[in-house]
């Protein structure tokens, strides 16, 4: 029993890593209608700033704040300098532009810090506590707590604030939104900025475990994408729930199904995601896109 609980707990703390990035993906998708493949690279870039600061002796919390601000500016600048150029064009081109950013930002990070992973100090104490016969690290608990707060804030942002409404409107129909007086370009900038700031938080939260390197989130991005899409892409809650589901399903499959084993356990959540999507194309918490003839 306690083994089972341990597997679930481990799955949840893995899920937290995926969720952190998935939330940023959801945010940028809500605000711009795009999938941003550079989300991870941007997060890493901002996290490197925090890394440099902590190396210079700045406390982690301050470094985190600096990274968040830097992330916001970075996101806004990228929107302004790069993505704006592709707005209103073929969305595929815009998505490939984010791929270009992914490559480019990884390259820039590597220029300064190399590709080798570096240890990163944790925001939370490096201790473990026992819960229900399982061991949980305080870092995981802290990460999950922060994520839940962010999730709730995002949900509130999109569902109850004027800014959130405006961002959704712009993502859906920028022309009509502009005609209604929405400052489209500023809103897009804010959307990218917020997503990148959130990415910075995600980066700082997971870096102690993953170690910081330019490719730190490359593969996490795949899981995060799966979580965001499974959750419904417009639902922060959905993203978090889906990420937790993916983490736990993977862990349980590896632990309990022998023929799957550690190598193929990744297939289990992905196949589950596929099956769920075939039944519910809008994802777990997503709202159906209305298309009329």
């Amino acid at each position: 029993m306690s083994y089972f609980i341990q597997v679930v707990v481990d799955g949840l703390s893995n899920g937290a890593i995926y969720a952190a990035l998935a939330l940023a993906i959801v945010l940028v998708h809500q605000a711009t209608g795009l999938i941003n493949f550079a989300q991870g690279a941007m997060a890493v870039f901002a996290t490197f700033l925090a890394y440099a600061l902590t190396r210079a002796g700045v406390p982690v919390l301050l470094a985190l704040l600096a990274a968040v601000v830097f992330g916001f500016v970075l996101g806004a600048l990228i929107e302004r300098g790069v993505m704006r150029h592709f707005e209103g064009g073929d969305p595929d081109t815009a998505v490939v532009a984010t791929i270009a950013l992914l490559v480019l930002l990884s390259g820039v990070s590597a220029l300064f810090f190399g590709y080798e992973p570096h240890p990163f100090p944790s925001l939370f104490p490096n201790e473990t506590i026992g819960v229900l016969g399982a061991f949980v690290s305080l870092r995981s608990i802290g990460t999950i707590a922060v994520l839940i707060v962010i999730m709730v804030l995002l949900q509130l942002l999109f569902r109850t604030t004027k800014l959130g409404l405006a961002m959704r409107a712009v993502a859906d129909n920028p022309q009509s939104s502009a005609l209604s007086g929405l400052p489209v370009s500023r809103l897009l900038m804010i959307g990218w900025g917020l997503a990148a700031a959130l990415g910075a938080i995600a980066g700082v939260l997971v870096a102690p475990q993953l170690f910081i390197s330019p490719g730190m989130l490359d593969f996490v991005l795949v899981y995060a994408l799966a979580a965001a899409i499974l959750g419904g892409l417009d639902s922060p809650i959905g993203a978090v729930v889906a990420a937790a589901f993916i983490g736990v399903a993977e862990g349980l499959a590896g632990a309990y199904v022998d023929f799957i084993g550690d190598d193929l356990k990744i297939a289990v959540p992905f196949i589950a995601v596929i099956v769920i999507l075939i039944v519910r194309p809008q994802g777990l918490f997503g709202r159906k896109v209305t298309v009329r003839v």
Binding site: F86, V96, I99, V103, L104, G107, A226, I229, F270, I274
Partner: protein, 353 residues
Amino acid sequence: MDKLLASRSRAVAGLVVLAIVLVMAPLVSSPYINYQLSTIAVFAVAILGLNIVMGYTGQVSLGQSAFLGLGAYIAAYGVLNDWPVALSLLLCAIIPAAVGMLVALAAARLRGLALAMITLALPIIGVPLARRFSDFTGGSQGQTVRWLEAPGWSGLANDQWRYYVVVVIAVVAFALARNLVRGRVGRSFAIVKENEAVALSMGVSPYRTKVLAFTIASLLGGVSGFMYLGVVQYTSPETLSFFTSINLVAAMVIGGSASIVGTALGSLYYVLVPLLAGQVNSSRTALISGVILLAVLFLLPAGLVSLPRRLARLASSARRRGHPTTDPPAPEIATPPASAPSDAPAKQSPTVR
């Protein structure tokens, strides 16, 4: 009409020149150049498949590398079991096509990102599967072959022979694909991309069309896997990695979405940019490729294929500035107001400006 004929004969001349270049190139180049040219042909076919499903039919696919890898593994298995080359090629086309079709049968009801998610799973699951079935795939060490060596009668070197084999396959694939996207089927792809409701009303089943496009894409992916093995003589789980898929997507868009010529240019890009980056500074390839990718997107958002068009535009707009390009004839229906000013001279009260 004259114009049409002129542009036609220009196209024919272009094709003839291209054919001559393609035939002569390997005879005068080093094995290294031939290898590069052959890889361009290999990835051109993979990107061609991707372009059919994504560029023409509008269905995002992040799984093309899985079919490339599958094809390469089938070919490698064929080499180890002494299959005739033609049989290998056939199976490299049929098996991936069948797999792609099965996936599409389940997935093609979805659209957009849900569909992208499913294709994304293919390489993610494919890599550990390839490691798992190491009897068939050689596991993580991969599969090394000596294959497609030049027969004695040809008097060619291996690299030249391989070049001809893959270029012939690629040319055939491109010719067939070009025909396909020009006619009835191509129009059904396009309308499924644009608007599924209209597709339905015109007798096009979006579901079948997507399945078809996926099947063709996987088939071409598999064929490119065959070519890959022929050229690289090696395959391993790295071949089907997810990041290969992403790079193929980028190359497709860079070349030109929904364009046959663009596909070839995209492959050129896919192969040459890493080389170029390596020439500039091997330690900074990511940075350099990122910059090049962004720069091309900035200058040519519609892809490399739009370069001549853009240059022509620039030139022509410089020549005849201010002249509208297309002037609809004064619509016959709306004649009254059109003639109103002349009918009603200035003495009439309305201000005629």
